[in-house]
Subunit: 292 residues, 2 copies
Amino acid sequence: MHSDVPWEVWSRERQQRVEENLARTLADEPGRLGEAMRYSVLGGGKRVRPLLAYAAGEVAGADPARVDAPAASVELIHAYSLVHDDLPAMDDDTLRRGKPTCHVAFGEAVALLAGDALQARAFGVLAGSGLPGAAEACALLAGAAGATGMAGGQDIDLGATGRTLALSELTTMHRMKTGALIAAAVQLGARSGRPLAASQTTALDLYASAAGLAFQVVDDLLDVEGSAASLGKTAGKDEACGKPTFVSLLGLDEARCHAATLRAQAHDALAPFGNRARRLHELVDWIVSRDR
Amino acid sequence: MHSDVPWEVWSRERQQRVEENLARTLADEPGRLGEAMRYSVLGGGKRVRPLLAYAAGEVAGADPARVDAPAASVELIHAYSLVHDDLPAMDDDTLRRGKPTCHVAFGEAVALLAGDALQARAFGVLAGSGLPGAAEACALLAGAAGATGMAGGQDIDLGATGRTLALSELTTMHRMKTGALIAAAVQLGARSGRPLAASQTTALDLYASAAGLAFQVVDDLLDVEGSAASLGKTAGKDEACGKPTFVSLLGLDEARCHAATLRAQAHDALAPFGNRARRLHELVDWIVSRDR
């Protein structure tokens, strides 16, 4: 894959790679549980986190083959979190990626177990990759997924429904809920190649932090402006549930402006890398301009 | 700790060690989610899986300090599975270890997240241990926890309610549901010390398989013969739910006989190890003679 192919070609090729890799990874999961796992993971999704891993891998000169396991592992964590998030005890959603949610299709108990098994599989893929530093990678992923990361952010989110948050509180919540796993995707991708200097790792963290927040701001915008048909999930859900969002806090115009500022911050963070960061640069553009 | 101390002293010392280690591991988990995690893990439980890890470690001459992380990780996986198992969508239990279950105390959404975060923490502890072979250990734990192990067994269990299973089906279900994690506890403990010969690893697998099934048969017996006061959980639940058990299939007398046979098989498997397997030998005795 030449580095001068357009973004659309690069990203489509990587998405196909992820899709095939995830399909292989889940092919042997047995029974009805295996079906529910494949149903929840395959055939949909923007694969933002795997794309971030591959794009960060390019910064460190990593062969895509070495990014496959980290890319699959972050997507499996993301997919499990969606399955659990959609459960009646959480967001009680019935539509995801244009299909009935896992518990609608398989029942609540199987959906609960499918999420659990997907999380285990995520660590299994990463730990079993045979790559150097696999244990450290697993520890990093665990930190991003657990109470100090994604799960902790979801807990704060639950407690925030119906309340008005300050921008700083909303930002902290999203830094944990979606930002931690996005940062892990970037870090794991970057660790798949040549060792980076500490200043470069910091630059990538800054990028991930801005890109992750931009992703969330755009998510909030799309929830207001999008339709279920384009989103593949229920639109207008945040407001109906009394969830604090960047739009409810800032208004539409200022939220759009905030997304643009975060994109610029993400671009700035990439300056030290020059053209090696091309895909990360394009990726945050795509995150901000997407319509689903 | 001298090798000639009585079982009661050895096991109590190890249980305290696990308790302190788990408390340290979970001390910094933030917020209400952290509370729910500590509530679900600390101050109760027989710690059978950690004891198996330490006992297997002795077979390989492992210093207990090297078994701490594996021991904590299997207990965290076990604890998360109990939290999710107790949810209304699964077994809908209100009493566990003599206390209200996690979702009764914290609500369903927090209990769901607490289970999720405990699973992540389990892999974090093991991956972050700095021990050689940590990645392989994580891969082993992931296999035992996921769709081919514990979660898969729980799915089969769900599908079996109200049906009559053959003894072989019931055995397969339990080999996955509880046996896989018990086997992982033994394997992870044994890997913490000197490398074992393949024949020794096979012998430990045979031991774990027999001890794991014995544990389940006794669980089924206690559900019929025990009281909530001694069990710390609802008694008579299996029959009320139409769950197939070793007692429902074999009757009380034959189930007791089956447990004794499995104990003898476990003992036989330990023959090659001599006195180094003393704690594993005592452990299966304890598993079979316990009253909770």
